[in-house]
Symmetry: C3
Subunit: 244 residues, 3 copies
Amino acid sequence: MLHARCKADVLKTLIDATSTLVDEVKVHVAAEGLSLKAVDPAHVAMVELTLRGAAFQEYKADAMEMGVDLEKFKEVLKLASGDDEVEMDFDPAGHRLVMKIGNVTRRMSLVDTSGMNDPKVPKLDLPVHVTIAPGELERGIRASEAIADHVALIANKDTFELLAEGDTDQVHLKLDKSMLAELKASESAKSLFSLDYFANMVKAAKGSPGIHLNLGNDYPVKIEFDLAGGNGHVTYLLAPRIES
Amino acid sequence: MLHARCKADVLKTLIDATSTLVDEVKVHVAAEGLSLKAVDPAHVAMVELTLRGAAFQEYKADAMEMGVDLEKFKEVLKLASGDDEVEMDFDPAGHRLVMKIGNVTRRMSLVDTSGMNDPKVPKLDLPVHVTIAPGELERGIRASEAIADHVALIANKDTFELLAEGDTDQVHLKLDKSMLAELKASESAKSLFSLDYFANMVKAAKGSPGIHLNLGNDYPVKIEFDLAGGNGHVTYLLAPRIES
Amino acid sequence: MLHARCKADVLKTLIDATSTLVDEVKVHVAAEGLSLKAVDPAHVAMVELTLRGAAFQEYKADAMEMGVDLEKFKEVLKLASGDDEVEMDFDPAGHRLVMKIGNVTRRMSLVDTSGMNDPKVPKLDLPVHVTIAPGELERGIRASEAIADHVALIANKDTFELLAEGDTDQVHLKLDKSMLAELKASESAKSLFSLDYFANMVKAAKGSPGIHLNLGNDYPVKIEFDLAGGNGHVTYLLAPRIES
C-alpha cells in the first residue's frame, strides 16, 4: 500500500538520479520511505538511493515493491512543473500506479520485479574525502568532454584535481584545500574514470549544495549527495578504468 | 481591393488555426472582413473562420478572393514580433499580396483559387455544450499523447471527461460542472476522436479564454473559440472515430 | 610571448567574425594587439581584423604568430559566460595556448602556420558609403532567405536598397537618407552578392552600433564594423556575383 503526495521536483530528482544507470528499477516501499539499488547493464556503476517520508507532503505506506519504467515515469512528470503537486496511489488490482497531476489522473502500469535482484553494495574504506560544489566540477567536465573519454580524479592532503588528456590538448581543474568545502586525505589518491558515467552522476547532483567524493588509488569513486532538502540521499559507486 | 494594417499576432492566430488542416486556403475578402472555410485532405475535419475588419488597425476592402500558401505566409510573419504592425495590400497587376513589416516590403505571390471550392458546413444540433480553459485540456492531451492515438470526450449533466486508453495505461481528465465555465447537457454523450487532430485544434485556441465544445453520442465535435479579442471566430468540426 | 586577460565576449566576437569564412587562421600577435587576415576557400570573401591591447584587461606580448583552430577555440569559450574572464598564455614548449576560465586550465594545441600565407588586401576606391543599424539589415536578409540565393545592394545619393528576387516573390528593403546614419554617394551603385556570405557577415556585426557598407557598380562590397567598444575593427570584402 502506498499513498503519497509531493512536489513534482522531488520525484524528478529521484528519477533523474536513477535513470542515468538503468531503464527500469525496483523501488522498495516502506513505512519510512522509498529506497532502491541498481547496477547498470555494463556493471560499471551502482546507485543506492533513499527518500524519506518526510520529503513528501503526505506519505503513508506498507512494505511492498514496485517495478518502475523510468522513462515512462519521466514523461508523466513532464505534465507537472516543478512546484506542481503530484499524488501517487498504488492500485493493487491493476498493478498500476495512479498518479494525479492537477485534474489529470494517469494510471501507469508497473513492471514485473520477479527478475530484478538487489545488488550487493560493497563496503569500501576510501582514504580521501572531498566535498565540492557541483558547478565547479561541471565546468571541468564540460571542458574535458571536448578532448577525452576519461578523466583522472587526483587528491592529496592539499589539493583536488580533475585531469583530462587528449592527444595534444589537456584540461586541468585544480582546487586548493581553501577552495573546497572539505578535503581530508590520509594518503594521496589517483584513479581514472569513464567521463560519460562521471558526467551523468555529477549532473544528477545539480541541485544539491555539495557533492562528496570518496577516492582511493586505482579504486572506485564513491559519489554522494543529498536530495529533497536532506530528506533523500544518493550514493553512486563508479569503477575505475585501468590506465593503459 | 484590400488594404489592411494590424498587429502581426492577429494574422498569426488566423494562419495557425487554418494551417493545422490545410496547406493552402481561399480567403474571402469583403467590406466587413475576412473569412474562410476549408476541409483537410483526409476529410476528417473542417475549419470555418471569420475575422472582422474591427480586428485591424486599418481595414478597407472590396469583395474578392485570395489563394494563400499558409506555410509561406507563416514564414513572412516570422519577420515580425507579435506586437509589430503588418500592412497588407493586394496588387492586382502581379496577383500578389504586398506586405510591409518595418521597412521591408515583401511581395508574396498568391495561389490560383480556381480549383478551390468552399466546403458545405453541415448543420449539427448537438445536445452537450461545454466551455473549458484551453490549458486544462492541454494537460490532458499531453498526458494522452504518450499512450494513445485517440481520446474519448464524455459528458453528462454533471461532468466532462477526456479519456485515453493505452494497452496497459490510462489517462483520465475529469471535471465537475463547478470546475467548468459552462456545462449544459440535455442528454449524455460520448465520442472518440483522433488525438492528433484534436490536439492541434486545442493548440490553435491557446490564447483564447475559453474553448466551447459541442458534443453528441458518436457524433462530430464542434469546437469554437474567439480570436483577436472577440473580433474573430473559429469553428472546427471533427468527425468521430468508431470504436473497434 | 603572449599574456592576456579579457571578458570572454571579446574573444567570442573575434572568433565569430573569422569563423564565418575559415576554419583555421594565423593570428599575428604584437605588442599593440592581435590581427589577422584570411580568405575563404572559395576565394569569394576576405576578412581583416584587428584587436588592440586596450580591448583586454591585461595584455603583454612580443611579436609572434599563432595558428588557431577556430571551432576548437569556440568550444573552449563556451565554458565561459560572456562576462567571465578568460586568461591566455602562450606556452612555447608545447606550442600550446594555455587558457584559464575560472579554475579550469585548458591547454589547447595550436595549428602549424607554415602553409598559411597572409592574403593581399586589394585597395578599392568605392564611391558609395552607407552606415546602417545591423538589425535593419538583418530583417531584410531574413526575409530574402526564404525566396532567393542572392541579394542586390543598391544606392544613390538619396536611398539605400536591398533587393531579392525569387521566381514570383520579391523582398525589398528601402531606406531613405533620413533613416540612415550616413549616406554618401558620388555616383549610384548596384551590385549582386551571395546572400549566404552577406548574411553571415552582417550576423557577425550584431553587437556593433553600425555597419559601414562601401559600394560600387558591379564591384565588391567592403563591410566594416567595430568590435570590443571600438578597440577592435573588422573589414570584410565580398566579391560581386554577375547577374545572369
